[in-house]
């Protein structure tokens, strides 16, 4: 028989998936066991499930700012009104808030991913109290979960950044796996990822917390720097290395990273609170793009009137060239929705005159406007025909570039020229509806036998 050692050496199941040493480069001395606690400034905490490390720190920044009622209302609104109401009631007392952020052994989720560091924070004495629980080994997991359950019981309103889809389900799963500690019940869960993405995605592209800190939160007044921050991608491996006897120093970086994330989260709340809570910001105090994002967020959360104001302001404050047509179009839609049809028509006329790329949609809207509101079938027909012509022109243009034909089949092979185009299915639906409208209008015009006027000169 083959020598077992050789048999094992050939198994691909035992081959590391990436070129990482199974053992860390350096091993810590046995006497260094306490070094980690010293480094972190942590104390060993015991409960009925065992022990773990706990770190407590108080920070004066960010400063507590009272939640504005309007902002809370908007941030907590969901499709389910009953639930929104319950969340709102729970949110009304900031004493019950608990900011939460975890560091985990991976992003894959599932039952094999552990949260080895649980960071919590709450408002205290005008500043932020941060508490972190760290498990030095898997055996300490139950004890940190027990501690978390106790904190959540005291402050059952969770505030997170992407915690609704990641941290909390993961922790919930960890609780289930203990079979002895019940997952604590939350009174409310406020996740800031969605509003942050809505507001800043347009301007920043990436809305990772560190990016928001740098570009939105004024890092200087926050009072910390991410200069030597640990990269998120390295965190699991640093922890695995430590488990296998590696040095504790990298973990200090992880703990710092977690503290900054928690403080950043609290600061982000203050920022959103201010932005959403301020009805009419002063000119120059907010970037136009952020206002435009805010406007769309407000619209989705059912605040049409404020959304319209924000959109108008965004155009006033200045938007980049490529966003303006979209903003104008939304503004026209806002006007239409609030019944200001004349204003909407005026905006569509501006769009048609200014930007042919946006013309198809505006022409269609004008056709509808003239047919339904003004009852001017002839003008309606003109705009419907114009819309059809623009649509076909755009399609012809894009079919002349290879991207139009093969863009789906060879992603990345051709530079994208899709900005002018919507999906082919959408286009053909639009074309159908236009043809239908034209036929109807033509029939009616023929009946009234008004001779069709030539297309109006738009330029």
């Amino acid at each position: 028989m083959a020598a077992p050692a050789d048999k094992f050496s050939r198994l691909s199941a035992l081959r590391p998936t990436r070129n990482l040493p199974a053992r860390p480069a350096a091993l810590r001395e046995p006497c260094e066991e306490d070094t980690l606690a010293r480094l972190l400034g942590a104390s060993v905490r015991r409960n009925r499930f065992g022990e773990h490390l706990a770190v407590s720190n108080w920070y004066s920044s960010p400063e507590f700012s009272a939640p504005s009622a309007v902002a809370l209302e908007i941030l907590s609104r969901t499709r389910d009104e009953v639930q929104s109401g319950r969340t709102r009631d729970a949110l009304s007392d900031p004493e019950k808030w608990l900011f939460l952020d975890t560091e985990t052994t991976g992003l894959a989720g599932g039952t094999g991913t552990y949260a080895f560091l649980i960071g919590l924070a709450w408002w205290d004495a005008g500043g932020l109290q941060v508490e972190q629980f760290f498990m030095r080994d898997f055996a300490e997991e139950h004890s940190i979960l027990c501690e978390l359950a106790a904190r959540v019981a005291e402050r059952p309103v969770l505030v997170t950044y992407n915690g609704k889809t990641f941290d909390w389900p993961l922790l919930h799963s960890r609780f289930t796996m203990t079979r002895s500690i019940a997952p604590p019940k939350l009174a409310a869960h406020l996740d800031l990822l969605h509003p942050a993405r809505a507001v800043w995605k347009l301007r920043l592209g990436s809305v990772r917390l560190s990016d928001l800190e740098r570009h939105v939160l004024d890092p200087i007044s926050l009072g910390w720097s991410r200069d030597d921050d640990t990269t998120s991608a390295d965190i699991p491996q640093f922890y695995f290395d430590y488990l296998r006897g590696g040095p504790p120093e990298p973990l200090l970086g992880i703990a710092k990273h977690n503290q900054m994330d928690l403080r950043g989260l609290a600061a982000l709340y203050c920022k959103l609170n201010h932005l959403i809570g301020t009805e009419l910001p002063e000119h120059g105090s907010v970037d136009g793009r952020d206002l435009f994002g805010l406007s769309r967020y407000l619209q989705r959360r059912g605040h049409g009137a404020r959304a319209q104001t924000a959109c108008t302001q965004a155009l006033d404050f200045g938007l980049p060239h490529e966003v303006r047509p979209q903003a104008r179009r939304e503004l026209a839609l806002h006007a239409k929705r609030s019944g200001e049809h004349a204003r909407a028509a005026e905006l569509w006329h501006e769009i048609v005159a200014g930007d042919p790329a946006e013309g198809v949609y505006a022409c269609e809207q004008l056709a509808i406007h003239y047919e339904r509101r003004v009852k001017d079938d002839v003008r309606a027909l003109e705009f419907a025909q114009l819309a059809l012509a623009e649509l076909r022109k755009a399609r012809w243009l894009s079919s002349r570039t290879p991207a139009g034909h093969y863009a789906g089949a060879f992603p990345g092979a051709f530079p994208s020229t899709r900005s002018l185009r919507t999906s082919p299915a959408k286009e053909s639906r639009l074309e159908k509806s236009l043809l239908h409208r034209i036929a109807r209008l033509e029939q009616r015009c023929a009946q009234t036998s008004t001779p069709p006027r030539p297309l109006l000169d738009l330029r």
Binding site: G106, Y114, F138, A139, Y406
Partner: protein, 851 residues
């Protein structure tokens, strides 16, 4: 032999002519046509008639609730068959059972009755149903939905698989009393997320495994490990679920179930379902050239046979053994039955690469009778409900007795008269079966084997298990102690021991990298770019290299596509519609490197090597060590190096092309025969005859091996390679005594290599027909390999090593008994591919091996 066959077939056709005239008239008409063609009496080697069988009824067991009984009665099931009642009763008493029944005997009632009864009694109870394919789960969903509607929506039943919308998943996890899924989804989607499934696991009462016989070989070995993980998780939530399995008829259903579940299982193999009468015909395509042993193409003959039935308005299913043949048969049959404009095609294809929607539509069409003929791969062999068909035509032996019966069972599901025809190909196995009908009709079907403790498979599942729950020191997988394996996984960085338990310490999600069915979980999508880009199908990684390489003709739904571009990195193949009169066949080269011989037959002294030119007579005592045989671990590298264009209908080779595709590599186990140089030198054959003889020998050897192992021919790979100069001690001693001319020859050998093959020097063609040049270099001391076509091996090599004598003897008999003169596809391979005296050479080598 041909005389006795003719006599028998004549006698049997007379026997058939007697039964009641009306029902059999169409079948008899067709048989008459065949008999008329069968002038030599060699074509119909068997015509067996199976009379109709009466139903045997029982009463619903007393514990069945009145409402459930009423629902079944409303569906027209007034009483269960005896086997259904017995199965339900056994389940009710709490036993694990495996129910063995042929196709269409009402097996779903066997498990639905006790499961639904339990759920109606205790609405907290949950059941998990496992089906090998998504399509089967859909089929069962329809049945359970119907029952549920009749029960006023008293329970929740959903499928949970890759097609389930992500926003529906949460509701399904909460509300589903019965979850219908497949092993793959259980493995990647449910077990690693068991905390989301607490409702299911805390109340898991029954696990139903349908089509148990499909879980053999690699798939079965994986499933066994998935079940080990499932039971672990169920235990974690305090449950010990009961198993209900259903299997088609195989040789060892009880043993397979016991190995898969690793628990005691009661076997129930009675059958009380009625069956219509059936005629089973073995059809051997007529010989065209006796000397060359060439028969008419079995594909053409199958199409002809199917056409005879279609012509008489009989709904017909044709089974082919490969995608290519499915498409070829589809093309032929569609040409013979041109579809009327404005109406959908009445002849359709059905196989793995078709998209789910298309498949559902075909299934419906078959049930409703709109589709008159369907050409399918094994995809329709499983219990998808397509209604009853009149005829089944099998183009080629499906490879196993069990598989043949299953396909035949597609015809005449309940009543009426039906017919199944097996059209033999020239492959040795096919020829053996049709010429020995008693072997087929008299033997029990194959046994199914699994090797769940294959280290590669076991370790991969151990990783998944650790991800799901930390592994405790007392845990075992079957008979395997886990701590030692865990320690090795810890050393490789996957696990970490904390206290006594091993925990998962890796960022990756291990289940994603383990495919239960094939070597890789990769597949290629096929995009038609004739017009707007449109995804028309998909193909798994291993088949992609041979079927959608650049310039290949890919056939889909009878339409030919030319592969324009294969984007290997993105796993996409871009094809365009074409209309050409050829198809392509890929040429694969393989290299085997021995890593470690586990055992080698004793090699004695070589001093007895004969003088050159000595002619051996019947005994070869002069050469005691003509060969040795071994088994052990090997590295198999293979590469598709080119392709041939083969003309439709005539099968002429009309050109070829070269390809540069990445090579594939796998570690597996192999059995091999080493032919010693002195023995080869003693044969009075030219170099090319010897070469040809070896390929021919291997061709026949593989067939006999699959017969002996009762495995699928796809589970074994073959290769010829040079015996390595092996520094290991065993070989070293054997080469020590090399004679001077032995050394000289070793130096001379490489010079015979042709320059054009030098770039792929180490590789050798797998099939003789793939030899791209007639003067390929000679193997000096060749090893003939039969390897397990799965990484890590699946346990065939050692049995083959042990059965070496039998294997060699039967191979010799197969070749010696073949009536052809110079080789034919049924023994050593088609004569056209061989050197003139290849068959003789193969026999000469075998004579030495048997000595």
């Amino acid at each position: 032999m041909s005389e006795s066959l003719a006599v028998r077939s004549a006698r049997e056709s007379v026997a058939v002519a007697i039964p009641d005239a009306l029902a059999l008239s169409a079948v008899r008409d067709v048989l008459d046509v065949f008999v008329a063609r069968d002038r030599d009496g060699e074509m119909l080697t068997a015509v067996r008639h199976f009379p109709a069988r009466e139903a045997q009824w029982a009463e619903f067991p007393a514990w069945v609730r009145a409402d459930l009984r009423a629902v079944y009665q409303a569906k027209g099931i007034r009483r269960p068959y005896t086997h259904q009642a017995a199965a339900a009763e056994a389940v009710h008493t709490g036993k694990n059972v495996v129910i063995v029944t042929p196709t269409a005997s009402g097996k779903t009632l066997c498990y639905n009755l006790p499961v639904l009864n339990e759920i109606l009694e205790k609405p907290d109870s949950r059941a998990l149903y496992l089906f090998p394919t998504k399509a089967l789960a859909q089929d069962q969903l329809a049945e359970l939905h119907d029952l549920n509607v009749r029960l006023d929506d008293r329970f929740g039943v959903f499928t949970y698989d890759g097609d389930t919308a992500s926003d529906a998943r949460k509701a399904i996890r909460e509300k589903s009393h019965i979850v219908l899924t497949n092993p793959d989804m259980l493995h990647t989607g449910i077990l690693p997320h068991h905390t989301k499934w607490t409702r299911l696991f805390e109340n898991l009462r029954y696990i139903v495994i349908d089509e148990l016989h499909t879980y053999r070989g690699v798939f079965g070995s994986h499933l066994c490990n998935v079940l080990r993980r499932l039971k672990r998780i169920a235990n974690f939530y305090g449950r010990d679920p009961q198993f209900i399995c259903c299997s088609a008829t195989i040789g060892n259903p009880g043993e397979l179930a016991t190995r898969l579940l690793e628990e005691e299982v009661e076997v129930l193999n009675a059958n009380g379902a009625p069956a219509g009468e059936k005629t089973f015909v073995f059809y051997n395509p007529p010989v065209v050239n006796r000397a060359l042993g060439i028969r008419r193409s079995y594909i053409n003959e199958s199409s002809r046979v199917a056409q005879e039935f279609l012509k008489r308005e009989m709904q017909t299913m044709v089974f082919a053994n490969s995608r290519l043949h499915t498409e070829l048969l589809l093309t032929y049959l569609q040409q013979a039955n041109p579809h009327t404009l404005g109406k959908p095609d009445t002849i359709r294809g059905y196989r793995g690469g078709y998209l789910p929607g298309e498949r559902r539509e075909i299934e419906r069409g078959l049930r409703e009778g709109r589709i008159r003929g369907v050409v399918s791969t094994s995809a329709l062999e499983l219990g998808i409900d397509v209604g009853s068909l009149d005829t089944v035509v099998m183009a080629g032996y499906p490879g196993t007795i069990a598989g043949t019966w299953q396909r035949a069972g597609r015809a005449g599901r309940r009543s009426g008269s039906s017919c199944a025809v097996l059209v033999a190909s020239s492959a040795p196995l096919d020829q053996y079966i049709v010429r020995h009908p008693d072997y087929f009709f008299g033997n029990t079907p194959e046994q199914a084997f699994i090797q769940p403790d294959n280290l590669e498979i076991l370790l991969n599942h151990l990783k998944c298990a650790a991800f799901e729950l930390p592994i405790t020191p007392e845990e075992r997988f079957g008979d395997v102690d886990l701590p030692d394996l865990c320690a090795r996984l810890a050393e490789a960085g996957f696990l970490h021991r904390a206290g006594e338990n091993y925990h998962w310490t890796h960022e990756a999600y291990p289940a994603d990298t383990v495919s239960l069915r094939s070597v890789t979980s990769d597949n290629f999508v096929i995009i038609d770019i004739t017009g707007l880009p449109n995804v028309i199908g998909e193909v798994d990684f291993p088949s992609a290299l041979t079927s959608v390489h650049e310039k290949a003709i890919y056939m889909h739904g009878g339409t030919q596509f030319h592969v324009e571009h294969l984007d290997f990195k993105e796993r996409k193949a871009y094809v365009k519609k074409v209309d050409v009169d050829y198809y392509t066949d890929a040429i694969r080269y393989t290299q085997v490197r021995i890593l470690e011989a586990a055992a080698t037959s004793p090699v004695g002294a070589r001093h007895a090597a004969p003088r050159l030119g000595e002619v051996p007579t019947s005994t070869s005592a002069l050469i005691p060590n003509a060969s040795s045989h071994s088994h052990g671990d090997v590295l198999v590298r293979s590469q598709v190096i080119g392709f041939k264009k083969i003309k439709l209908f005539t099968n002429e080779n009309i050109g070829d092309g070269r390809l540069e595709l990445p090579e594939n590599e796998m570690h597996t186990t192999a059995y091999w025969i080493t032919l010693e140089r002195p023995m080869l030198d003693s044969l009075l054959f030219s170099v090319s005859e010897r070469q040809s003889g070896m390929f021919g020998l291997l061709h026949a050897l593989e067939s006999v091996a699959t017969l002996l192992l009762m495995c699928d021919c796809r589970d074994l790979g073959t290769a010829i390679g040079e015996r390595p100069p092996a520094p290991n001690s065993e070989s070293a001693t054997s080469t020590d005594n090399a004679s001077p001319d032995f050394v000289g020859a070793q130096h001379a050998a490489p010079q015979l290599g042709t320059p054009e093959l030098s770039t792929i020097d180490e590789f050798a063609p797998t099939r003789l027909r793939d030899v791209t040049s007639s003067n390929t270099k000679e193997f000096f001391e060749p090893n003939l390999y039969l390897f397990d076509a799965y990484p890590g091996g699946i346990g065939f090599s050692e049995p083959l090593f042990r059965a070496h004598q039998l294997l060699v003897r039967q191979t010799r008999e197969l070749i010696a008994a073949c009536a052809c003169e110079q080789g034919c596809p049924s023994c050593v391979g088609p004569a056209g591919d061989l050197a003139p005296r290849a068959k003789e050479a193969a026999l000469a080598i075998l004579n030495r091996l048997c000595a």
